[in-house]
């Protein structure tokens, strides 16, 4: 079976791109001739095929986990001197898990989108982009070397740009797409610098102990992950600029921070998180697939893939953990104050990503990946639930005007309830296990620290609070549709008064919801920690990738206390949510009025967007205007400058004929022309002046000779 994967592993990647090609090029004809059905089926089938092969690959790896990864080499993409990159795919437990998530959740979302996008003119375009996204994500996940990963990395950025700006007729969507791509591009800049520093410092070290000969046969590649894994130790003592006595940042930390900058760009952490909330402008399945399950997790996967690099620099890990924890807390606070259903989920994604980074930061890589998997399931379920709510209420997404949907949409409500409980971290559900493991590792692991645990702990409480608020305001209480003031923002589409016509979404949308909810429940059981008697099969499964340093078996009593504390904080969040939003509906308004200023600050996302706009966007605008003017007037337009000066001089003197201004090229040409005009003045036409000039010339030459 291993040879099967080695030969046909690339099919996983090939199918989605085939689907994208068919839908992209022939989509319009198919849609006009045969309607929307075949397009949806083509797209979903291709993803399903790659899902099947992923399952085969997963089973192959799960059955005999050899240490060496399984590589499916397709062709040599780039081979210039020492820069060598092949298009080849790496199958090991980590990538197996990831391709399962990507293709599995992807397939479910494809099914869901068939229903969701019904009637949209750009139907074929949507599925083409979706397939293209799956293709890029699979490349990112299966890439065997950094450059190929970079292609996947930017490929998903492109697809998110296309999908966010899918309904491009509205200006805001297009701008949101732009914002997403440019912020990602900032991250990619960091990623690129990481690759460059890694490449050259590794090259110098290898050249130092003259192992360059190995590269002569042209098979080894400096940037491929297996090679990096073995030779990263060479970089241990090296500092950034390779100058021995310069003691500053070690090159490992520099590389990790650059790569982490790339990760924050992609996974929307603190400095570069601004694009994710705006990305909600895209269709909901897009948000579910890209901005919840797969793309945003790319950063975590990258750190997981390069764990050997990151674990060598405790400084970098500390920063990652701190940023993760901070983002979790920061996003959670904003989440509580948002009224748009999708924005709440967006901020909750940012905060959950913060958890994953926290996990990675404390070197609990398997815990991070475990939370990534469970988060993919319940967050996708939440988004799809929100999607079906939006469809039912004709694209009304402001939760203040919803309520009481429990009666009309039982299945959506049920799955939404399960997912909310999972995310809040209630024990039987998978959310509890993965989040708790991270929190435990945040405290216990040698890179961890109690403050990190405490920040995670508070964020967990807030998560429970805002999720319950969301659940209650949408599904419980009575319907507040008619209280909607005429001009309230958000929610376009016709105003249906009354609530009688809200119907449950069709089967094609609710079935994926149920499956996802089911996974949200059972996913936790494969990672039950030893403390609770489970064998934590998930971290053992990932053992070979992250080095199976089996934790010491002692059951520290502290673990149980922390577990109890996290359950307590979850319940406290839910209870306070219920208290605020169902028992005493007036209470939140009163509290808000008392802490008006802080509420406004939190509601407006700490004005981060406004600051970025002011500093960067209008800043660059000013710079480019100055530069363009500089280019036109100073360098090129010395013409206009001197032309202007000469014109006013000529108006004053009136004797010069200055028609030459339009023909002059630049300052030098200008002076030559004016001296030319001067020359003409000497030619006065008087014969005696000429004769004087003749003798004057001769006298000058004679004097020159006598003097020198």
């Amino acid at each position: 079976m291993r040879t099967f994967i080695e030969h046909y592993g690339f099919l996983i990647v090939l199918f989605p791109v085939l689907g994208a090609f068919i839908n992209g090029i022939f989509g319009r004809q198919i849609q006009n001739k045969y309607g929307e059905k075949p397009i949806g089926y083509v797209a979903s089938l291709t993803v399903f095929f790659s899902f099947i092969i992923s399952v085969i690959a997963f089973s192959v790896i799960a059955r005999d986990p050899q240490p060496s990864a399984l590589i499916c080499h397709v062709y040599n993409w780039l081979n210039v001197n020492f820069v060598r990159a092949d298009v080849s795919f790496l199958f090991d437990p980590l990538s197996a898990v990831m391709i399962l998530i990507v293709t599995g959740v992807g397939f479910l979302i494809h099914i869901y989108s068939i229903g969701y996008m019904k009637g949209d003119p750009g139907y074929y375009r949507f599925f083409a982009y979706l397939n293209l996204f799956i293709f890029s994500m699979l490349i990112l996940v299966l890439a065997e070397n950094m450059l190929l990963m970079f292609i996947g990395w930017e490929g998903v950025g492109l697809c998110s740009y296309l999908l966010i700006g899918f309904w491009y007729s509205k200006k805001e969507n297009a701008i949101a797409g732009n914002k997403a791509f440019i912020v990602n591009r900032v991250g990619d800049f960091g990623f690129l610098l990481g690759i460059l520093t890694l490449f050259w410092s590794l090259y110098n070290q290898i050249a130092a102990n003259d192992r360059l000969a190995e590269f002569s046969n042209g098979t080894l590649s400096l940037l491929s992950f297996p090679f990096l894994a073995e030779n990263i130790h060479l970089l241990k003592g090296v500092n950034l600029f390779g100058i021995p006595e310069y003691t500053g940042i070690s090159v490992i930390t520099a590389i990790c921070l650059f790569l982490f900058l790339g990760a924050t760009g992609k996974s929307a952490q603190i400095p570069l998180h601004v694009w994710l909330p705006d990305a909600m402008a895209g269709p909901t399945p897009v948000s579910a697939l890209i901005h919840a399950a797969t793309m945003v997790t790319a950063g975590i996967y990258m750190i997981g893939r390069l764990h050997f690099l990151f674990s060598m620099s405790s400084v970098a890990l500390g920063i990652i953990a701190a940023v993760g924890a901070l983002t979790a807390l920061f996003a959670a606070t904003i989440g509580c104050a948002q009224n748009d259903i999708k924005r709440v989920l967006a901020y909750s994604t940012i905060s959950q990503l913060g958890y994953m980074f926290l996990g990675m930061g404390v070197a609990a890589y398997s815990a991070g990946i475990f939370h990534l998997m469970t988060h993919a399931f319940f967050k996708a379920c939440l988004f799809l639930g929100a999607g079906s709510v939006l469809i039912a209420l004709h694209h009304e997404n402001d939760i203040r005007w919803m309520g009481g949907l429990k009666r009309y949409m039982p299945r959506t409500f049920l799955t939404f309830l399960i997912a909310t409980l999972t995310i809040s971290g209630i024990p039987p559900f998978s959310g509890f296990f993965s989040k708790d493991e991270i929190l435990w590792k945040a405290w216990s692991s040698d890179h961890g620290h109690p403050i990190l645990w405490f920040m995670g702990f508070v964020a967990a409480g807030m998560t429970a609070f805002y999720m319950t608020r969301l659940l209650l305001m949408t599904f419980f209480g009575e319907n507040r549709r008619d209280q909607r003031p005429r001009d309230a923002g958000g929610g376009h589409g016709d105003q249906h008064s009354g609530s009688h016509d809200i119907r449950e979404s069709p089967a094609s949308m609710t079935v994926p919801l149920v499956i996802l909810a089911f996974f949200a429940i059972i996913a936790g059981f494969i990672g039950i920690p030893e403390a609770l008697g489970g064998s934590n099969r998930f971290s053992h499964f990932l053992g070979p990738v992250f080095g199976s340093h089996v934790e010491v078996q002692h059951h520290d009593p502290l673990e149980y206390i922390l577990m109890a504390a996290s359950v307590f904080i979850a319940l406290f969040g839910i209870v306070s949510g219920v208290l605020f939003y169902s028992i005493k509906p007036g209470l939140p308004a009163k509290i808000v009025s008392r802490i008006k200023i802080t509420y406004d600050v939190v509601y407006n996302k700490y004005y981060v967007d406004e600051i970025y706009d002011f500093v960067f966007v209008s800043g660059t605008k000013v710079i480019i205007i100055i530069l363009a003017a500089f280019d036109q007037y100073v360098i090129d337009g010395i013409v206009n400058l001197t032309g202007f000066l000469l014109r006013c001089k000529s108006r004053i003197s009136g004797s010069f004929d200055l028609r030459f201004v339009d023909g002059a090229v630049n300052f030098i040409a200008d002076t030559t022309l004016s001296t030319g005009a001067g020359m003409r003045k000497i030619q006065t036409g008087k014969i005696q002046a000429y004769i004087m000039f003749l003798f004057f010339g001769m006298v000058v030459f004679v004097l020159y000779k006598i003097i020198f």
Binding site: R28, Y75, F199, T620, I625, A669
Partner: protein, 500 residues
Amino acid sequence: MSEFIQNHILTLITFIPLIGGFFILFLPKDKHDVIRWSSLVITVVPFLLALILFAGFDRSVYGFTHSNGIQFIEEYTWIRAYNIHYFMGIDGISMPMIFLTALICPLCVLASWGINRGVKGYFFLFLLLETGMMGVFTALDFFLFFVFWEVMLLPMYFLIGIWGGPRKEYAAIKFFLYTLVGSVMMLLVMIYFYLTSDPHTFDMTKLAEINSVFDYRTILWFALFINFAIKIPVFPFHTWLPDAHVEAPTAISVILAGVLLKMGAYGILRINYAVLPDVSYNMSMFMAIFGMINIIYGALTAMAQKDLKKLVAYSSISHMGFVLLGIASFTNEGINGAILQMFNHGVITAMLFLLVGVIYDRAHHREIDGFGGIASVVPNYAFVSFLAFFGALGLPGLNSFISEVLVFIGAFKKYRVITAISASGIIITASYCLWTLQRIFLGKLNEKYKLLPDMNIRETISLLPLALLVVILGVYPHPVLNLMKSTVKYVNNIFLNMNL
């Protein structure tokens, strides 16, 4: 017959357009279509020859100096008294450029179907221009190289001057003066080389072998560098480019950006590096800094432009900055990346200018803000423009990414800070590309262009090969990379064992 073609291929490639041009002069003046079709056929012939050249090119030969073996050599004594030879040959550096020129010229003829004033003169001058360009890339005798270098100037002046936009005279004379200032400096250097080389020779490859004999080396190097910098164009000398581009007709600005800018970089590799290697090595920091300035400055000024064509012109300045950075890196990867970037940029700028031409033929103006949301009205045009603009910003998977990565990797070895700053250029490039796309294609549909016709067959044919190249070279760059690898390896070795 094929044997004749085999050993006269370079002369044929260079002079068929000229002979065709004279043939066109005798066609009847008013039969525009006959003229257009015959000139198309005339430009397709060199393309076929270029394909033969591409097939027959031996990728393993070093080239660059006489002893290493230049390919497809044609050497006849031209003026015995002064040892001037009609010496033509190609190696890894010139082969991609010849292929690019042979590819772009037929597309430009296709794009100039709209010219209807003095059609005969236009196509004659265009074919003369093609001969000049081919000659520059094939000539290996400095005298012949200089003759072709100036022959190329003449038609450009008339093409911009007669068929250009409103300020065409100013742009044309500016172009002519800037380039002439450069080429007169090269004339002095050429004569100095001739007189100080002991068996008085103009042959560039032989000059490369006896390069230690000249004194005043730095002055010579700067004279040559300024000439080629004006052509690239490098920062302080670039002001002719936006004017020339905005005023030139579409097909001419395609040629101008697609091929003429590459001659500067080609010249630096062919003469500066060959004859004055030690000075070039010392000046690498100087060139790298200017490369960086070009990238950042070009990108920022592009962002501020209101006119689409000027924007593309400034983007060319920014992309050529990569070429200069790559050349200045003196690493195998860097120089390979630079030459690949020359090829890729040629393809992408040609596409961008053709697209500008398409929209200009329909809307008769180029104000970026004048359009809006036309993607729904012209889907094919939108798709190709997105492909071109994403190619321009160096999206991985398309061709520019490979050359940009190679340049970055190459340049990072010696100039870490400069490369880091240049790498920030990709952010600025991404922002102005997307901002332009958003203002033209996305957002609310501008009522004026509700019934804008999509691309017709002629335009599609002229854009198709370029679009395919952008994608294919992104996924599989070997066809072009293999051409230059061995020559660049040799060039790199010169500097390695110069133990500086």
